[in-house]
Amino acid sequence: MNSQRTMHNAKLFLILVLSVIIGGQFSLVSAQNDGSQQNQTGRAGTFAIVGARIVTVSGATIENGTIVIQNGKIAAIGANVSVPAGAEKIDGKGMSVYPGMIDAGTNMGLAEITLAVNGSVDLTEVGTMNANTKAIKGINPHSAHINVTRVNGITSVLSAPAGGLMAGQAAIINLNGSTPDEMAVVREYALVINFPRIATGGGFGGGGFGGGAQPVDFNEAVKRRDTQVEELKKIFKSTTTYMRAKDAYAKDKTLPYPATDQKLEAFEPFMKGEKPIIFTAERERDIRGVAKFVSEMKVKGIIMGGQEAWKAADDLKKNNIPVIYTNVYSLPVRDDDDYDYLFTAPSKMAAAGLKFCISTGDTGPMVRDLPYHAGIAGAFGLSKEDALKSVTLYSAEILGLADKMGSLDVGKVANVVVADGDLLEARTNIKYMFINGRMIPLTSRHTELFDSFKDRK
């Protein structure tokens, strides 16, 4: 009797434990498998949006024009463009056509539910040196975030891994496709390095919790940063050594065969400056540290974060380092900072002649707010034109895609959105959208849940 009860309890306990551990994942899977949002990749065709205001971004806005989408590309744009035979005509009256927006700083598809649903999170690999891990191998093409994001006019994103010193390689994807390959724009675009920073704990990022943060001794923090930078440089050194050994072996097969190190091998193109490295850095001193590092190591650098990039504009410009600014929504970190410190940073970057774009920096769910990040920067000193460019053409430029997207130009990929107003306004609705020339259904997990419940009595 007793032992039976014990058995029973043990079983019950096991079930309880299991349900706690895997409960999250179960409901997640079921959430992903229900509804029609699976594989909503839209349809190909020839489309002509007629009589619309066409905001090309790269050139003048056409107040009443036509844009033709064919074979996945923008085939024609202009005030007097003829609609090809067989094209599906869309009345653009009262509408504005824009290039699809690009968020250059997300973790799209890598984390469905960040908090406490670890089974859905593929953000951070173990270890500090992960040059070989690639976001494109972790991106879930069926993440609910994707449809939710694109129906707000965002057609492409950079999706980056996070954590560690060398977090891994970021991918650029279109927000459409049934497989990572279908989505990929650039599979392995840039390596993400969380640049070592002076972390005193008490200052930057302090405040907020009301406690007296006890800062680490500053000079101690500087030393710690320097040590970490040295570690980073060591990776460069070992890669150089490794490459030399390989080259030597290639020329002289009598030499011992150098064992393959896939991490160092993966790092090679970034070290050589063939591909960019995205350095996360926020404050002036750390950003200047990146600039120094970029110059010293002769790599191609991009800043992600960039709260105080405008203060280091000289160093950044000298080293051709653009900025992916992710902080419009952030609270200024010091009490003494102006209330609009992070709202005005984009306008200050523009004034300093820095190349920058605006990003949400969001994991996934709130990437759809990208236009409002840009809009708020527009309220605080950035021109409306630059605000729009900062989420379209400027992002494309920084991602090396200005020849393919970011503006409405003939020959570019047909990532196009049609809106009933200013693209950056919160009340504007997206009426049509195209990714790679495919007309995308304006549905998402959210519209589907809405439809299910809106008439419940």
Binding site: V20, I21, G24, S27, L28, A31, E112, I113, T114, L115, A116, V117, A144, H145, G202, G207, G208, G210, G212, Q214, P215, D217, Y329, S330, L331, P332, D335, D336, D338, Y339, D340, G364, P365, M366, R368, D369, P371, Y372, A374, G375, I376, G378, A379, F380, K384, L424, E425, A426, R427, T428, N429, R445, H446, L449, F450, F453, K454, R456, K457
Partner: protein, 467 residues
Amino acid sequence: MKKITAYFVLLILLVGSFSVVVSAQSNNDVLIKNASVLTAARGTLENTDILIQNGKITRIGKGITAPAGARVIDATGKFVTPGIIDAHSHSMLDAINEGSFSVTSMVRTRDMLNPTDIEIYRALAGGVTGALLLHGSANSIGGQSTTVKFKWGHPVEDYPIADAPPGIKFAMGENVRQTTFSPPPGTPLRYPRTRQGVIETMRDAFIRARDYKQAWDDFKSGKTKVQPRTDLELKPIVEILEGKRLVHAHGYRADEHLNLMLLADEFGFRVATLQHGLETYKIAPEIAKRGTGASIFTDFWGFKLESYDAIPYTAYILWKNGVNVSINSDDGGRMRRLNLDAAKVQKYGGVPEQDALQMITLNPAKQLGIDKRTGSIEVGKDGDVVIWNAHPFSVYSRVDTTIIEGVTYFDRAVDAKMRMDVAKERETLEKLDINKAPGTGGGPPSRPAERRRGDRDDADNGDGGNN
């Protein structure tokens, strides 16, 4: 008091940039001229003046003449809304959770107000004039809330709205159950760990409170002789049962909010607000029937499992069902853009403009029981207004001036002036010997003070005594 004086000095220094006639600031009378006034009650009034006297709105109309001593603000081309009210905030709290017990109704956020929190000023710069400061969501029944106006620069006792009904935080779901993480082996688990346990914890508290009230009733009627203990935990729960204290209930899943409302039915009270309530769209009729409010995010979602079913159409569905909806921030960052969160409500479902605006003004005022005094621009209400350079639902809009009871607490021009003044003050302060780094002049390097073992490193702030 110092800050406030300094502020008025600044205001007076700056009269030029206001195109203002200031004779005396003593009465705080303000006349806002020629604005587009989004009243949040009676539509939008174009080219309209608002007169605020002794802290109250006394006239709304055209061509109002400024009484003697009133400050006049020319708001031509600008927009005026009621001050935004955030029905879910933890700003200015030095502690948010008393995470020990699952019922901590004895603790009060009022004790933790810190008027030096810079978030207050930043909220004002986003047009927020009032907020419900809530205990965190660590417990089934959390602490008592405080309804405040953000009177930056004032002493702490000026913040709470004296006639606001008292409130209390309830919470359900992942945070309360403490299941978003696995405790290390050996750590005792806190009851409750399940949603059903949370409801029973609440029920238990209500039953204890009922017994407690009985004990006092018996004593008061002379049936018992020994005065019962004053129980700070149960007193506020008795107030809930008596309808004197508002329940603001954190939760995400529809079923658990429904279960709470059923529990409230059982004990005969009305839940004031369902906080977060990101699935409230699933139970809109049940909420409407009870007259319970919902205080939600417009579109924040997907940050945890229980927010995965959230949709941005929630406000619309609730509104259509006649539920009083407010949009809150729960965050010092988001608090600064509640105007855009209200704009999004229009986008997702098509709630009319005024109804959307009410979700950040009049509706939260109603939920907090302060709508008699604030939440809309109407004669007789407090002069809590915000002047915007553009339509507040536009991303390109900015707050120019935030006024509470006729007093300006944020103004872009004053802010710009303050930056210069602070820069000058910094220059002066940095030159003082006491502020010079050791070894950079200003006397011999001072040796760090002797510290006892166990003292934490206070770095630059000295130990400052015994605390």
